[in-house]
């Protein structure tokens, strides 16, 4: 299960996000890290320090690209400039797969820079799947879609979120980046059982997993990536690993970022679940 056609038949372990407060530590101390995930848009530029640092990181580490503004679910066609820059970066990083979100965020050429939730309709699934195929055909590497955290549901929805995810993944024949923190956040905001979600995802399509922390407010939970992973999310992660096996896992920590060591230690907690999955496979 771990190496599949949706993650380029790779067998990556535990990674963390490459973030600027850690650049100096990474480049000078060269810590042992399985892989780094980069936000593609931060490096889809023509030159300068970000690309120089990326090149230095690439000399030492494996890098996987994760995007935040392809907006597979936007009704409009993919932006050609975006695609061209993304492909240039893919050629630079040699990322074995590429992920972005199952959401929308732009309409009529205007960008919200947010991960807005999809209406779970068959029309939306068809349009989204078509766009994923277009992107994959252009980029020429496997694509995985990530479930987002959401704070709203639409009247027009015709299915559950996990049914929608499966519908899109099947139609696009793409991988899934399963964010178990996002499942937990949405389950609290929309009152569903997160294990039903995890148990419904086609295990053979899971290319990668995200874990993260979040912030709890009085009436809802916000996906802030600024805390350690909480126990209920680790339990969901354990169940996910039980179903999909040893899978590339990435800890997201994007705000109030602590030291490199603290972030890496938090990510490495995933090892206790991955180790048991490896053991089960061996037996």
């Amino acid at each position: 299960m771990p190496a599949n056609r949706f993650n380029g038949h790779t067998d990556y372990g535990i990674g963390i996000g490459l973030r600027s407060p850690h650049y100096h530590h990474i480049l000078t101390r060269k810590p042992v890290v399985d892989w780094f995930e980069i936000i593609s848009e931060n490096f889809m530029i023509d030159g300068g320090r970000p690309l120089r640092i990326l090149d230095q990181v690439l000399e030492q580490y494996k890098v996987v690209q994760h995007g935040v503004s392809m907006y597979f679910g936007s009704a409009e066609r993919p932006n050609r400039e975006h695609l061209k820059r993304l492909k240039t970066l893919v050629q630079r990083t040699k990322t074995p797969w590429l992920s972005d979100h199952l959401c929308w965020g732009s309409v009529d050429g205007r960008y919200t820079h947010d991960l807005l939730p999809m209406p779970y309709t068959f029309e939306a699934a068809r349009i989204t799947a078509q766009k994923i195929r277009e992107v994959r055909d252009f980029i020429e590497i496997p694509v995985a879609v990530e479930n987002v955290s959401s704070y709203a549901e639409f009247h027009v929805s015709e299915m559950t979120e996990w049914e929608f995810l499966n519908e899109v993944a099947e139609r696009a024949d793409c991988g899934i980046l399963l964010d178990v923190n996002n499942i937990y956040v949405s389950s609290q905001n929309h009152s569903f059982d997160p294990f039903t979600y995890v148990n419904s995802v086609p295990a053979e399509r899971v290319a990668q997993i995200h874990i993260a922390g979040h912030s709890k407010y009085r009436k809802y939970i916000l996906d802030t990536h600024d805390h350690p992973v909480i126990d209920p999310v680790w339990k969901l992660y354990a169940r996910t690993i039980e179903r999909v096996g040893h899978t590339a896992t990435l800890l997201e920590w994007d705000d109030s970022i602590p030291s490199f060591g603290e972030v890496h230690d938090e990510a490495l907690k995933a090892n206790r679940f991955l180790a048991s999955a490896s053991l089960a496979t061996a037996v």
Partner: protein, 313 residues
């Protein structure tokens, strides 16, 4: 409801400006009831109404774009003052919402917008425009393309009458009415200091900055905003330097650019060659010139490439 229609409605709601207390408006500026819009598209749950759920996205949108914008223009914030800058930023982002997949380009239309809306800066309009120019040039210099730099051997045997040079795409030449480079550096230094400062210290710095802005008097400068070893620098230029480099932009040959730049210069004729040699040495050492594809490039190739270099007068 079709996907496109739903997305248009929701995006309009999400991008509607917040109230003064940073909540979602009950009524949009065009008279729509936001509650009706929310009820029509979004389900309520046992804790939140449709309005409250939509409001989460409305607030997130404005917090995100305003904070990204403020991060890019700390100098303009110092010129206008915090409250006026925040109001101006909202007005700008209403008129010029992002049209790019990256927040990096959020301020790309600020300069022209500011020139059309002088009421925001009032008596500081020229200062504000200068600062906006500088801060946008800074963004461009940070991640602009670096082409292979011109090498001495590229010039061997080339007739200066025919030599046409191109500036690196990341270099911007600015003719400014105020010495805003000094002000921006001071604002940044303040900001670095504030990272470790107490409230009292921060208040003192704020007062100092306000007083610096108030004292700033017009004093024309010529500036190159460029990058060296991946750090962005502001380099003051002599008037003649600026004139030569600017003349290269529309495709003049090097000798024609030098001739026109020095025509009315107070530099005495006997010293001119030495000046030009010194300037050229500096520009070359800084890697400002691109290596020509051929030693003498065609006019067509120049116009395409020169479009990337930026000159603001």
């Amino acid at each position: 409801m079709k996907l496109l229609n739903l997305q248009r409605r929701m995006a309009r709601a999400v991008m509607t400006p917040l109230t003064r207390s940073e909540r979602m408006r009950a009524v949009a500026p065009d008279g729509r009831s936001m509650r009706a819009v929310a009820n029509q598209i979004i389900k309520p749950n046992d804790r939140l109404t449709s309005f409250e759920r939509l409001e989460i996205y409305n607030r997130q949108y404005w917090f995100r774009v305003l904070s990204a914008f403020a991060e890019d223009f700390p100098g303009l914030r110092a010129v206008l003052g915090g409250r006026r800058f925040d109001a101006m930023a909202k007005a700008y982002l209403i008129d010029c919402p992002s049209q790019s997949f990256t927040l990096r380009n959020l301020g790309s239309r600020l300069l022209s917008w500011l020139q059309k809306h002088p009421a925001w800066a009032r008596e500081r309009q020229n200062l504000a425009v200068d600062m906006a120019r500088l801060e946008w040039a800074d963004i461009e210099a940070f991640d602009g393309l670096r082409e292979p730099a011109l090498k001495p051997e590229d010039l061997a045997g080339v007739n200066p009458e025919k030599l046409r040079l191109r500036l690196q795409p990341y270099v911007s030449l600015l003719a400014l009415r105020y010495p805003v480079d000094d002000l921006l550096l001071e604002v940044r230094k303040d900001s670095d200091d504030l990272d470790v400062a107490s409230n009292t210290f921060s208040e003192r710095h704020k007062r100092k900055r306000v007083s610096t802005v108030a004292k700033l008097t017009p004093s024309p400068i010529f500036l190159a905003v460029h990058r060296l070893d991946e750090d962005v620098y502001f380099r003051r230029l002599d008037r003649e330097e600026f004139a030569i480099l600017s003349s290269l932009h529309p495709g003049k040959s090097l000798s024609a650019a030098i001739e026109s730049a020095l025509r009315h210069s107070p530099i005495v004729a006997a010293d001119r060659a030495a000046h030009v040699e010194k300037w050229f040495h500096t520009w070359s050492a800084l890697g400002w010139f691109c290596r020509p594809q051929k030693y003498v490039v065609t006019f067509h190739a120049q116009t395409e490439s020169f479009g990337k270099a930026k000159i603001y007068e």
